[in-house]
């Protein structure tokens, strides 16, 4: 279940990342508060040409407009992501995956445990044998932040940009400081998720791409005696 939802989320996330990027190109300016447009002072600007000639970017070039299909696909992929996340969340709670594998254990609730594991990474010492079947403290902390903070926040901020959704639940936008704040947080959050993806894939590659991928897809570790991964 964890693997199935992982790969569904991966496909949806890539679609969301690409289409989200395309949508940003149509207005690569970010604001804080409820409103923002080309007549408003931006919080920050991404220095790229826009796909609209109404946006002053300083470039004498307008990128092709890809918003139509990007928006269609963005929301469809968002549904895949949300529904998959729902299944994963219920499974994680009921099946004990969160408690057993994801949330840091009681013994690890001190800086020492994190510092030790970080030092182990920095010295490039191979992982302990216990990590063959379970996540270490840094992995648990990172995955927990991604799953319990970054993903819920990106769904919330996405919905807080919807005029229909905020008609039904106005507080989803006002609590964040307004619609443009939601858009800005959505963008920063997507950057953090991209950073996670890059580091995550790098770690997989460093620890042996083929054996890790086999484990992530089939559930069987590189060590063939490992047939009882509890997160199946």
């Amino acid at each position: 279940m964890v693997r199935a939802t992982h790969w569904l989320t991966f496909i949806a996330f890539i679609a969301l990342l690409v289409t989200g990027g395309e949508i940003v190109i149509s207005h690569p300016r970010f604001y804080w508060g409820e409103v923002g447009n080309v007549n408003t002072k931006p919080l920050f600007v991404i220095p790229i040409p826009a796909s609209r000639d109404t946006v002053p970017t300083g470039y004498g070039y307008v990128m092709p407009d890809q918003n139509g299909w990007s928006r269609y696909l963005h929301f469809e992929a968002a549904w895949v992501c949300v529904l998959t996340g729902l299944v994963y969340g219920i499974y994680g709670l009921v099946g004990g995956h969160f408690r057993k594998n994801l949330l840091p254990g009681r013994r690890d609730l001190n800086w020492r445990a994190y510092a030790d594991r970080a030092a182990q990474y920095l010295r490039r010492k191979p992982p302990d044998s216990a990590e063959e079947t379970s996540y270490n403290v840094l992995q648990r902390a990172t995955y927990s932040v991604v799953i319990f903070v970054l993903f819920p926040l990106i769904i919330w901020t996405g919905l807080a940009m919807s005029p229909a959704f905020t008609a039904a639940f106005p507080w989803t936008a006002t609590l964040l400081g307004g619609r443009q704040s939601a858009r800005t947080i959505h963008f920063i959050d997507s950057g953090l998720l991209l950073l996670f993806l890059v580091v995550h894939v790098t770690m997989v590659a460093v620890s042996g791409f083929r054996s890790r991928m086999r484990a992530m897809i089939t559930g069987y570790g590189s060590d063939s005696t490992c047939d009882s991964r509890e997160d199946r």
Binding site: V35, G36, N37, Y72, F75, A164
Partner: protein, 252 residues
């Protein structure tokens, strides 16, 4: 790797059957209650249908957000408009006195209303946000008369499911479902921030649909048709937007 147990097969089978059955029931319910958008076919159909159906149900009796007067944008941004047609220039030169809004279709008494006629109807003013699909937005006060009042005036018939509307410019047609059309915030707008609605913002007459993105709020509206069959307009996708790749429903 013969690790799949009989129990898992049975669970999987039951789950798959429940899923297929659930989808079939959901499909029938969606069709009955009009929860499938006109552009609900194709690869993006499932996503569009889920979004539209959920938001349609969530927004029942939930009007668009309104804002205090202090939040009205000082420098609202009027998006680009196409060069005005010859006909538009003629009407503008006449102070829009000859501007007519034709209301027909599945109604008891079709009408052609001048702006002066529209101004005799109950006035409504609301401070709402225009949010463009590109990401930018502004807040303004919009003054006009609710579309629902005009539809009642012409005696809209009970079989009406969509309201189609057209602009005095090429490819400027769109439609909304009857629930959106009867929402008191869906406004035939003639004024903005205590003045007449300026031409760049859609003057003299714009249909503001504040629970959807800006592109549903069509500028220069001249024709409204109530209908029970939206498929007969254009390519049958509900508006001209899907013909350019953009979704008919723009609640998100």
């Amino acid at each position: 790797m013969n690790k799949i147990s009989r129990r898992k097969l049975i669970y999987g089978g039951v789950a798959a059957a429940a899923g297929v059955g659930g989808l079939a029931i959901a499909d029938r319910m969606a069709k009955r209650y009009g929860l499938i958008p006109p552009d609900g076919g194709g690869v993006y159909g499932p996503g569009e249908t889920l979004t539209y159906a959920c938001q349609r149900l969530l927004t029942v009796n939930r009007p668009a957000r309104e804002f205090p007067r202090s939040m009205i944008s000082k420098n609202p941004f009027a998006n680009e408009i196409a060069a005005p047609t010859h006909e538009f220039k003629r009407l503008e030169a006449g102070g829009f006195r000859d501007w007519r809004l034709v209301v027909d279709g599945t109604v008891a008494h079709p009408l052609a209303l001048s702006l002066a006629d529209l101004k005799t109807l109950p006035v409504r003013s609301q401070i709402t946000e225009v949010a463009c699909e590109e990401g930018w937005s502004y807040i303004a006060e919009w003054i006009g008369t609710p579309l629902s009042g005009v539809l009642r005036e012409v005696g809209v018939l009970p079989q009406t499911r969509y309201v189609w509307y057209n602009a005095l410019e090429k490819n400027g047609w769109d439609s909304i479902d009857i629930a959106e059309a009867m929402d008191p915030h869906t406004l035939l707008t003639m004024g903005m921030n205590d003045g007449d609605l300026p031409v760049p913002f859609g003057g003299p007459l714009r249909l503001r649909v504040p629970r959807q993105l800006g592109y549903k709020s069509v500028k220069f509206v001249i024709h409204i048709t109530a209908t029970d069959d939206i498929k007969k307009f254009g390519k049958g996708l509900g508006s001209v937007s899907p013909e350019y790749g953009y979704a008919w429903y723009a609640g998100i």
